[in-house]
Symmetry: C2
Subunit: 320 residues, 2 copies
């Protein structure tokens, strides 16, 4: 497929259900009462797919997933699939602190036709053993008991406080080789992503930022699942396409996307991206976040817009 | 009431609904299917009250609260009040990551007659602003909209990763002076507890460990809410009684309880205490924990029993 030589791993054997490409963890717009605005969500999801995202992760960190109840999360999955977004373009976040919640959300995703789920470990207790975490994931997989299920493990230690370690991934992949399909690595630590790529040839490894997309693809990553694809989906897609086709200059595309990402990263990510969408779509409703997050203030918003001036960020696309 | 001189603060003005004394955050026994064993829970709750606990905190950290769904938590509150445990002896944990869950649990506690709730801040997002956290608590209080409600803020930064700071407590106490009734300080940092005692004269301050009970009482604390009261309720109560009555030797009682606590603290707290109850009640079912926690292994259990030998720990009481 790609004209470049992929140096390592020499060969990866990925299940056809292992996702690939640029996946967007979709921001969740809110109504004034802080309930989920499913209409705006579906419109944004369609826009992301039209802009080139290969798929959509619903209810990861960027979706403020843990700020919503199980009932709210299930209702949005139903709205989205009911609106005609293809379930095979979705990966549904289902990993909660409570085993019973994770089971309920995972079963519901499958019932809605979504076979791919993104699972955080239970994240309240810190310093727990890999044995306890293995049982936490294993209980969900066993209770759901559905061969169609594909689980992507979600490693985001800065927020969860609970790392998904090499040893834990190995145990889960050995115990559930059909089900455990990949990992989202949001550590922001390339050496960790590289370890996963070298160690787990049968898993689809997604860096959690487009900053690592090209390095990742060259080392065998499946793509990336990246927050800022909500406002710059074309930037990440351009890297992927240049790499896959062997045409164009993937390094230049990477440099452009990284510059944009770094500018946004100077602000709280979810409020900053909601601010950008509100601004360029002329739709102030988009600025709302659910507590404990706080909306970006006007001064910071203007600074963010300034910081993006001179980059290749194309705000006008957001209004398209 | 107490014969000792309380040096500072000179006077505290606590609402009659501010709890006081030794409160036990009740361990939650499980069935083999990892569901809550409400029968064993009610029996243990009765035992704790009979052993001298002034009250019971249901669904704090020690209750594995976040490992259960909202429905499981509501059902246990109903079972406990239905079994005749007086609601005014209960403080119900209701602080979740999702605002909607916190509102639902708080309303339910009030409907069950429980006016006191213990609220963690939303704990997934780290590094959030006090403004965002203020809104998170304020939204719950405003949406519930019940003057009878008394909120105890729960500061446990080692597990939650989200501190309840002096500034946040001050803002909440100013905005909701009737409702915000106290703080459980599980920082394990006496200087922080001392700051709270000095700064918030109208709040009931509970250190999260009996290790600080006597120092706390002497500085104006309301008592303590302490995990190890599940296995040594009499130890904490003895400190409180000696201090309150002015008879006996509260420092000796404190030293004895602290020694027991330090021995237990060498093991994971929840599995260790469940092990002790299982052992002394000859009831192996008590050992079960819900993932991501893991039950204490036999070797560690024997070491724990050995470590308690020579202390004043009275295991036989657990079987009473």
């Amino acid at each position: 497929m790609n004209a470049e030589t992929v140096p390592t791993p020499a060969s990866r054997s990925l299940d056809s259900l292992a996702a690939h490409g640029v996946w967007s963890p979709v921001l969740v717009p809110l109504r004034p009462d802080l309930g989920i605005d499913s209409g705006r969500f579906v419109a944004h999801a369609r826009w992301l797919l039209a802009q080139g995202c290969h798929g959509l992760a619903m209810f990861g960190t960027t979706s403020e997933a843990n700020s919503f109840s199980v009932a709210e999360r299930k209702a949005l999955v139903d709205e989205v699939t009911g609106a005609g977004i293809p379930p095979d373009r979705l990966m549904v976040g289902t990993g909660c602190c409570a085993l019973t919640d994770s089971v309920e959300l995972t079963r519901h995703a499958l019932d809605a036709g979504c076979r791919r789920v993104l699972m955080l470990p239970p994240f309240y207790y810190k310093g727990v053993s890999d044995e306890g975490l293995f049982r936490a994931f294993a209980e969900v997989i066993e209770r759901v008991g559905e061969p169609a299920l594909r689980v992507f493990l979600y490693h985001f230690p800065r927020l969860s406080g609970v790392p998904v370690t090499e040893g834990l991934i190995g145990r889960l992949a050995d115990a559930f080789p059909e089900t455990v399909a990949g990992v989202k690595d949001s550590s922001g630590d390339w050496s960790n992503t590289r370890m996963m790529l070298d160690r787990f040839l049968d898993l689809a490894i997604f860096p959690g930022s487009e900053v690592f997309l090209l390095d990742g693809l060259r080392a065998g990553a499946a793509g990336c699942i990246t927050a800022t694809s909500n406002v710059n989906p074309a930037g990440a897609r351009a890297i992927f396409d240049a790499w896959e086709s062997g045409h164009g200059d993937p390094d230049a595309k990477q440099a452009a996307a990284t510059t944009i990402r770094r500018a946004i990263d100077r602000y709280p990510g979810i409020p900053a991206q909601k601010y950008l969408i509100a601004h360029y779509r002329d739709d102030p409703a988009w600025r709302t976040v659910r507590p404990p997050l706080a909306a970006l203030d006007d001064d910071s918003g203007r600074d963010l817009l300034d910081a993006l001036t001179g980059t290749e960020f194309d705000g006008a696309r957001l209004g398209a």
